[in-house]
Subunit: 411 residues, 2 copies
Amino acid sequence: MTIDDDSAGVEHLLSRPIRGTMDGEGYGAWRSFTDPDAVPLSFGFPFPDSFPLEDLSEAVETLFTADPDTALQYTGPGYATSLPEIIAGRARERGIDCTSDQVHLTNGATHAIDTVCQAFLDPGDLVVVERPTFMGALRLLRNYAVDIEGIDVDADGLDVDALATTLAERRAAGEALPKLCYTIPNFQNPTGATLAAERRERLVELAVEYDFVVLEDDPYGRLRYDGEEPPSLRTFDPDGRVIRVDTFSKTIAPGVRTGWIIADEPVIEQLRRVDAGGENRFTRGVIAAYCEDGRLETAIEGLCAAYEPRRDRMLAALSEHMPPGTTWSEPSGGFFVWVTFPEGIDTEAMIDDAIAEGVTYLPGSSFYSGDRGRRHARLSFSEADPDAIERGIAALSRAVRAAMDPVEAGE
Amino acid sequence: MTIDDDSAGVEHLLSRPIRGTMDGEGYGAWRSFTDPDAVPLSFGFPFPDSFPLEDLSEAVETLFTADPDTALQYTGPGYATSLPEIIAGRARERGIDCTSDQVHLTNGATHAIDTVCQAFLDPGDLVVVERPTFMGALRLLRNYAVDIEGIDVDADGLDVDALATTLAERRAAGEALPKLCYTIPNFQNPTGATLAAERRERLVELAVEYDFVVLEDDPYGRLRYDGEEPPSLRTFDPDGRVIRVDTFSKTIAPGVRTGWIIADEPVIEQLRRVDAGGENRFTRGVIAAYCEDGRLETAIEGLCAAYEPRRDRMLAALSEHMPPGTTWSEPSGGFFVWVTFPEGIDTEAMIDDAIAEGVTYLPGSSFYSGDRGRRHARLSFSEADPDAIERGIAALSRAVRAAMDPVEAGE
C-alpha cells in the first residue's frame, strides 16, 4: 500500500473546533514553570504533608471489608453509591438547597467544567469569564471554538456593573449575548478575590435578564481563613441557570480527582448523558468511607490551620521585601495572591531570572485569553512551607529589583 | 424577580447536538434489565470473586510508602507516572509498536471512545459501526449528532466486503463517506465474534483508500480461551489512522475505571488537549504498583481459567435446553454469547417473562441504532457462576418455549 504524502496523518479529519484551535499552547503548557531548586510558588499544589495517606489507607480497608462484591464493580450498593448524598448534605450545610439527584460526580472540577462546556457550547457562542481567570478553563474553552469576553475583577470579585454595561451595549448594538458566564466566586484563581454577596445576587439577575447560564466554580470555598462565607450563587438561582462545580482536590487531595456538579435535575440528566462511563467507583468508595465520622471536616480544619500562616507569611514577606509600586491582593482563603509589579516589569521575561534567584511563579499572562497580564504574577502559598515562602518572596524581590530601573528600585 | 414561564429552565441553551438528541433514552437506560432474584446474564460484569481486593490493598500500601509526596499530588514522579510505559510494554508484547508517548490514559474505555469522538466528530459526520455493536458507543455517538451506518457482523466479525461495497456505492452516488469506523475486533460486544486477520488488513486498506479513522476498541482481547490472537489493527496502520482503545476494567476491575488510547503522537497531542484535567493519580499509582511482579499477568491467567468453564457451561446449556431454530455464537473469549431465537420471538416483549422464570438478558435491540434486533439477545457468562448459568439458560429456554407457537416449540 502506498501513501500519498499529502494524505499522511489524520489531522485533517479532526473536528472543526479542534482543527481550528490546534496551533496554540496545549493544556498544561504552564507546567514548564517549575524548577527543583526554586521555592515553588507557581502551582496550586497542596503541601505534601497535607495528604491523608493513613486515613485513605484505612478507608480502602473499610471499603473492601464492607463492599467486597460491589466496591470494584460497575454499579451496585455501597459506599460509592452513597457519595452523592454525602455531597448533597455538605452542600445543604452551606445553605445550598440540594438533593443527591442534583449531584453529578465527575473526575475533578476541570472535568466538571468540561462536561458543562460540552453540554452547552456550540462553536461561535460567547462566553463571559473573569479577567484574569483559571488558565485551565481558558484552555478548555478554546477546544469549543467559542468567543471569550473578559470582564475585570477587583477586590470584590467580578465587576458585575462592568458586565451589566457590556451586556447592555451588546444588546443595543445587536451583538451576540453570552450563553454562559464562568466565575470562581470564592478566593478566585488567580486573584484571590471573593465575589461580594450583593454582586452574586446581581449576577444571577443579569443571567435571567440576558438568558445565560452561570457556571459557579468553587474549589476553594471551604478553605476560608477569615470572615464569613457569602451565599453560593445557587442560592439566588430562580430557574436552574446556576450550575455549581466543586471538588475534593483541595480538601482531600488532587490525586483522588473527584469533583461534582450541582444543578437542577433536567440539566443533570443531560450532563450525565454527555459525561458517560468514566465512574471510578473505587475512588468514590474510598472517599465516601473516608468522609465517615467527620474525618473530612476535621481535615479541612487542619488544612485551614496550615494554610492561614502560609498566607500570612506570604503577605508579610511581600510587605517586607517588595519594591515600592508593587501591590497585591489579600485573600481571605484559598491558595493564591495576585501581584501587580511596577510598570516596566514583564513577568514572562523575568521568570528565568526569578528561577535563578530561587523562586518560581506563574506569569500573569497565563490567566488571560489575549496578550495581557505581563505586569502580574500569581503566587501560590499552598505548597511551600512558611519559611520557604519567606525565602521565595525575598528571591522574587531580588529578581524584580534587578529588572527595574535602578532609580525606581530605590537603589 | 419574576420569571416568564416560557424561559424557565435552561434546556434551550444546551448545545445544538445535545438539544437535538435529548429525547432518546439516556446512557445507561439498559440498566433496568436486572432483578435480584434472577440469574444475571444481562451485563458484562466480572464475577465478584474476581476482584483482587487484597492485592489492591497491598498496592495502596506500596504506593503510599514509595510515593508519599506525589501519590496524591497533581503531578510528579512515581508509580502513576510509570503507568504509560507499563501499558506500552504490554502492548509491545502483543506485537503493537508503541512507546509511552503514544499512550494517553483515560477514565476507562468508554471515556476513551468519547475523547476520540470529541476530537474527530462534527455534527452530520458519518460513522460506520458494526451492526450490532456496544450500546454505550451508540449512545455516545448520538451525543455528537452524527449519522450512523451499520455494517453486519458474521462469525468472522465485521463484514469487510459489505463495507467495501457500501463505500464504493456511496462514492459512486456522491454520498457522504465515513470519517470514522468503530470496531471491536476481539470477542465483539455483543456477538462474541473475532475479526479475522485478513479482514483486519483489508479494513485498514479501506480506511486509507476512503480516508477515515479506525477506532479499535479492545477491552476483551486478553481474555482469550482458545486459539491464537490475530494482530491488532494498529499493526497494519501505515499512517496513524488506527486509534486503539483498551482498559483495565476487565482485567483488574471495572471500579478502577482506567483505560488508555494508543495512537500516533500528533493524534495523542490533540486527544490530551480534548481530555484535560481528569487524571486520577491515586488509581493510576495503585494500578502501576499492582502490575509489579507479574501480578496482572497471573491475574489474567486466573480470569481466563474462571471464564472458560463459564463459557463452556453456557454453550453446553444452550445446546441442551434451547428449542429448535435457536442459534448462537461460539466466542473464543470475552464475556458474550449472541443468541438468535426462532422467528416470532421478541426479546423485548419476552424480558418480563424471562425475569419471572429466573433469568435476565439484554434484548438485542439495545445494540442497534434503529428498531432492529428483537429476535436476538446478548447473554453474558461473566458474572454468574457455572451452575447459575446452567439454571439461567434453562429458565430462558422456558420463557422462549412459552413465547413460541406450541407446535414449533415441539410441545
